[in-house]
Amino acid sequence: MMPTLAHYLAVSGLLFSIGIAGVLLRRNIIVIFMCLELMLNASNLSLVAFSRFGLLNDGLPNYNGQVFVFFIVTVAAAEVAVGLAIIVALFRARQTTHVEDLDGMKY
């Protein structure tokens, strides 16, 4: 059976949920970061799916979605670069990757 748009969107939604659950629930900062990437990629997937299935009148796919994905990937890459730099600096200061140990702003 051919996968329809609904299947792709379901997968995308599932990935996004797993990502957000990871961000909220995992303790290691690097795993949280990976789950963040997972959320971004989930949205990439749904964008490509919409691009592939949302055909225009002359039968060609709407390429706006795929171009948008390019942008998202670029931004994700830049964000990872910056984010990992911050994590390394944080590790050098606190000597821990346990996110619950970062409670300096607690009342």
Partner: protein, 599 residues
């Protein structure tokens, strides 16, 4: 000569003099005296010119506060018969007293300050006389109080003088509180502050008699304070701490008469509310009697005269209450101004001759050492007591006759007051001038310089003759009572005789006071009562206010502080420091927003 400008010149010349003396004074003493006397003399000359010109002078008024026809206060001067007479009295006596002050204050400190204060006083007093509306009169009323404060406190390093000045101003303020309420009540009823409009609408007062009566009684409170009636009389004897010319000008002739003048101004309005006139008459009657009681045991020559002033002011206020025209009270005011001022100046002459000794029991046998003072003082005492032939006889007996017409208890109060007046005045006269010299200063006393005795002689003339028709007829149109029984005709005369004889028997050639009545000597303990009220009542009231300030008002402030603290404490619980919690709130917010957007 444009007479419309004259009132402004009369009013403003003393103010200008006061300002100039402030700058010039430290450099030249004679110049300060000269400027002050010049301003008073200019005022006197112009006042006599205005008086000679019969008919009212219309002076254009300036608008000051104008919120429409309902509430408009203007600065205007009114020249009618009443104010012309009062102008003549005030400016002439002021000129005489200023001249006398040159001699009296010759060796005193604060010479220029004194003349500046006197000029300021003259300006304020003339403002009261010339004012054409209540608010302007009230402003000048307060200014007169301020000048009085400055002048009583002339020797301010002396504690008693500073206290006396404070007391004078404070007690006056109490009366002025009632005065202000009265003015506002009258405005509320009649819609105007101007005297001419108020009197024109006086007939309409019949529409709300109770309101008008209460308003007039409140306005009378101003007179109780300013003219030292019982119960607000306590400041006048203490005001004797000021220099004697100040006592003669302010606290005998002019300032204390302002209360009577104000009542004369609104007399047609008072006539529409007979109950208010009754209150006025009784306060006056009680004052003239009680002040006499207090005077018979005083030993300070100025204090005796001060209580005498209170008593005579009581007569004037009584006259307002019982006579059909305000001219009777003004007649007595005129006579009183002349002879009381002169008596105070005589006292000043005696005090100076005695090297500033004021106790009459340290004086004696001054009759030969100070002849001019003795003779003028004799004229003054005779006029004050109402000895036939002198000015006081005419006005005082007239008041007593009118009092008899109105109510017999008032007649007896006034007549007994006359007995006491004769008694204490002749007591003071005999002890001061007759008898043995009772101290070194009395043995070496000498007559005062001419600059002081000539004013005495000048004032002795009206004290003697001002009562007679040929003189007084120019100033006053005095009504006479309808019926005069033998009692009212000869009662006052008998009172004088009784008083003089009693004083003669007890005090002629007396070494020390044979009478000792502590109740009268301590002024009926009224002063002590007021002091106790202030000390205890004020303290208790202050404690209540302090508690209220700390707990009620402070409580509200503390409550708001606690509320802010509590809110802060609640909000601070959101600072969890947990990264994932923040991410959770972030996500929940996004979900909520999306829900709201897509609903």
């Amino acid at each position: 000569m444009n007479l419309a400008l004259a009132p402004w010149v009369i009013l403003l010349a003393p103010l200008l003099a006061a300002i100039v003396i402030l700058f010039v004074g430290p450099f030249s003493k004679p110049l300060s005296a000269g400027i002050a006397i010049l301003s008073a003399a200019v005022g006197a000359v112009l006042s006599w010119m205005l008086f000679a010109h019969s008919g009212d002078v219309v002076v254009p008024a300036m608008s000051w506060i104008d919120f429409g026809p309902e509430f408009a206060i203007r600065i205007g001067l009114t020249i009618d018969h009443l104010s012309k007479v009062m102008l003549v009295i005030v400016t002439t006596i002021a000129t005489i007293v200023f001249t006398y002050s040159i001699g009296y204050m010759k060796h005193e400190t604060g010479y220029s300050r004194y003349f500046a204060g006197l000029s300021l006083f003259l300006f304020s007093m003339l403002g009261i006389v010339l004012a054409d509306n209540f608010v302007m009169m009230f402003i000048f009323w307060e200014l007169v109080g301020v000048s009085s404060y400055i002048l009583i406190g002339h020797y301010f390093e002396k504690n008693s003088a500073a206290e006396a000045a404070k007391q004078a101003f404070t007690v006056n303020r109490i009366g002025d509180f009632g005065f202000m309420i009265g003015i506002l009540m009258l405005w509320f009823a009649f819609g105007t502050f101007t005297f001419s409009e108020l009197l024109a609408k006086a007939g309409a007062g019949a529409a709300f008699p109770v309101w008008t009566t209460v308003a007039c009684i409140f306005v009378f409170c101003g007179t109780i304070g300013k003219s030292a009636q019982i119960p607000l009389h306590v400041w006048l004897p203490n005001s004797m701490e000021g220099p004697t010319p100040v006592s003669s000008l302010l606290h005998a002739a002019t300032m204390v008469a302002a209360g009577v003048y104000m009542l004369a101004r609104i007399f047609p309005l008072l006539q529409t509310v007979p109950i208010a006139l009754d209150v006025i008459a009784w306060v006056g009657g009680i004052t003239c009697f009680v002040a006499g009681l207090m005077a018979i045991q005083q030993d300070d020559i100025k204090r005796i005269l001060a209580y005498s002033t209170i008593s005579q002011l009581g007569y004037m206020v009584l006259a307002i209450g019982v006579a059909p025209s305000s001219e009777v009270a003004m007649f007595h005011l005129f006579n009183h101004a002349c002879f009381k001022c002169m008596l105070f100046l005589c006292a000043g002459s005696v005090i100076l001759g005695m090297h500033h000794e004021q106790d009459i029991w340290k004086m004696g046998a001054l009759k030969n050492k100070m002849p001019i003072t003795f003779l003028t003082c004799a004229v003054g005492v005779a006029a004050l007591c109402g000895v036939p032939g002198f000015s006081g006889f005419f006005s005082k007996d007239l008041i007593i006759a009118f009092a008899a017409e109105k109510s017999m208890p008032l007649f007896w109060l006034a007549t007994l007051g006359a007995v006491l007046t004769a008694f204490y005045m002749f007591r003071s006269f005999f002890v001061t001038f007759f008898g043995p010299p009772r101290s070194e200063a009395a043995r070496h006393a000498g007559e005062s310089p001419l600059v002081m005795t000539i004013p005495l002689i000048i004032l002795a003339i009206p004290s003697a003759i001002a009562g007679y028709g040929f003189f007084a007829g120019h100033f006053f149109q005095v009504p006479h009572p309808h019926e005069e029984t033998l009692l009212t005709k000869f009662g006052p005369l008998g009172a004088v005789v009784v008083g003089v004889v009693a004083a003669f028997l007890l005090y002629f050639r007396a070494e020390k006071d044979p009478l000792r009545i502590p109740f009268f000597a301590n002024r009926l303990y009224i002063d002590a009562l007021y002091a106790a009220i202030v000390r205890y009542g004020q303290d208790r009231f202050g404690n209540v206010l302090a508690w209220s300030d700390r707990w009620v008002i402070g409580g509200v402030v503390a409550l708001s502080a606690w509320a802010a603290n509590f809110a802060g404490g609640c909000l601070r619980l959101l600072q969890l420091g947990n990264l994932q919690a923040y991410a959770f709130f972030f996500g929940a917010g996004v979900v909520g927003l999306l829900y709201l957007l897509l609903k």
